[in-house]
Amino acid sequence: MLDLKAAAIAANRFGFGAKRGELAAIAPDPRGWLKEQLSLPVQERVAIESPARLAEFLRAQRERKADVDLAKMFQKELRENFRGEAGGRTLAAAASPAPFRERLVQFWSNHFTVSVQRPVVLPVALGFENEAIRPHVLGHFRDMLLAVAQHPAMLLYLDNAQSIGPGSIPGRLRDKGINENLAREIMELHTIGVDGGYSQADVTEFAKILTGWSINRDNDPNPGTFRYRPMIHEPGDKTLLGRSYKEGGMTEGVAALDDLAARPATARHLAVKLCRHFVADDPPAEAVDALTRTYLNTGGDLRAVSMALIDLPTIWSNPLSKIKTPNDLVTSAYRIFGIEGDRFRDGALAGLQLMGQPPFAAPSPAGWPDIADAWMSPEAMMTRVQWALAAGQKLDGHADAREIAKSAIEPVASENTMRHIDNAPSPAEALALLIASPEFQRR
């Protein structure tokens, strides 16, 4: 039996909306369509580009001290390059053959935010997502956590690259010390959560455990790669959350991350965030419980957890409970209207900037908020309407609002919405009303 409503939910709630003709293809088996996307190989092959990019950045940092013009040129290039990547990321997501999987990539990338508010992140933001997040979205959480904690982008963004054990020889000679930024955010944001039961002493101990997790600098071999530096590691045994870690150099950190990943508080923290993202701003308790159980029973297997998400009855019952973030709104517009090609990168990025959510630019390590309250101020609503109107005008002559409405939102759309699109005073306004409609703004 064709289930167009379930197809629309699968396409919108789990993905970035339906391309022309896609709903009909999904309708015979909406759950199967989603599960198939999770059956692709666990490890997606990605090119590792960050080290070279970062090495170039570090070299330019050194050279710019001598040559101001060169520095300016490099900065401009760096920024332009980043803008291209940020817009390109949106277009790639919009065109993805596995949109649910892509949504998972973006979810975890936001969970482990690195932000270009720190300029050192500019050359490696996209690399971070591709290298530390993407390969693990259907793997085990602990592997993603380790990849994140060893990625140069994160080590620089949260300052661990420069953290020095106060009891190490350089620490004692140069009176240098630890930086607890990464250690704190791993516990507060990435794993057990702020109520996970840790103290300031735990933060300090974890920061000591992570001393030495650094990068190869400009004058080192393999610049721009992860490097464990035993010289600056804080010597001695440590205690984190009541568990002791014998002096073991880098293995302390690996063991501590594994232990954090295995904690029930981590399972619940991640389950709440996943349910908030995919189900509702106030996630239903039974949905959170189901995901928590799956996480704990499978040792943090994210493919199993994502499968469990598909099997939540509640996710299929209330089709439009989430308001799209600007990121989801722009990406879905590009998918639904079938806009593809590099020349649209600037436009995609401009839309995201306008509505306040450009890629890799979250205001803090907590990442972008995932609830409607954060994106639905009166000002933001006006901006959405204005963007819809501008988009409708641009699309005028290239797309038919009625045809797209039928193929993208009709199974879940109200009669009122369809009538407004039908009766719009002009084709451009019909397109704009489609984009502004509740069924397009929600998922």
Partner: protein, 426 residues
Amino acid sequence: MAFDHLILPRRGFLGGAGAAALTAMLPRAVLADAPTEKRFVLIILRGAMDGLNVVVPYGDRDYAGLRGDLAIARPGDADGATDLNGFFGLHPALSDIAPWYKEGALLPIHAVASPYRDRSHFDGQDLLENGTLSPRNTESGWLNRALAIMGGSDRRIGLAVGQTVPLVLRGPTEVASWAPTRIPEADAGFLALVKSLYEGDKRLSLALAEGIQATQSADEMLGNDWRQQMNGGGERLNEPSGQPGNGQPGPAPYRGQKILAEAAGKMLADANGPRIAVFDAQGWDTHAGQGAAKGRLAGALNSLSASLTSLRESLGPAWKDTIVLMATEFGRTAHANGTGGTDHGTATAALLAGGAVSGGKVLGNWPGLAEGNLYQGRDLMPTTDLRAVMKTVLREHLGLPWGKLDTVVFPSSSDAKPIAGITSRA
């Protein structure tokens, strides 16, 4: 398909006709009397401002040693602080507003902290804004509850400047909001269509109705010329700017802030405008590359200084009735960390400015920076409750009754007593 550059190029987008049509379509906002003619601006310094390097205790014998390379030089030395009272000095990046201190329009208070004693930014900001004793336990902010008590009319007295309404202003009392846009405004005809499109969707229709109202009020208060200039001016609030490199010299990423300050000033100055405004200033989380006279902290202070100057200018004569409070979620460690910065701490400085403060002195009880005097051996010891500062301003400047401040605005805060000498009220 021509979908690129969705942002249309600069052009006259909201002619007189458009604005007139919009005004005609909507009932004009009811111009009820405001409950006060005083102005209050709250600037939330998100990210934990390092009070020790902003209001610098150069006279404390432990300061220079604790801070090492990060220490701000003494007044008179190269790149030194601006002396305030022979013990404290102001960070050199604030030199533009340092003269305000002499004229009595700048009032630092030191060793201030909210009741929050852990070190999470997010919980710290939550508590700073919700006005209670624990994070995440209420959906309303203290300033919204204060507005409810001021009450008196349908008029929106509170104004959120920026893309979102911050928690401190959220709650049952409706507030206005404004943010600069860079896209042509939708005409009244299209807005009417969208309004009826949203009939079945409460959430969207409410946000739209408020948005239309806010746009209309803002147009009236700011004037179209200014708005047009903002729209075409190419300021990108969300685009990170500044220089690559880890902090030296500090990036200047927050250009948008000055626009927010200017808009807030203009709207507050309007006779029919709001009386209380809130906006954010960012860039304080200086774990690395903090610098001394130059660096990330100096960059954030430069932006703040420019915002304040712009705010004062745009307030015009209303400046004399204004108090600006700059508050952050907590301070930073007394010691410099190992990476040229400082980590999350406890007490910090609060800054007040405006014609209605009793400035020209530094308030607070200085706990000292000797090892034994530090909170948990690492942070500046809190000696003044930030809520006491806020309550005093709400009481003396905005006229709220103390009993309500103790219970409704800041529940269970009777320990936070009024502080003498903050406002110019005799």
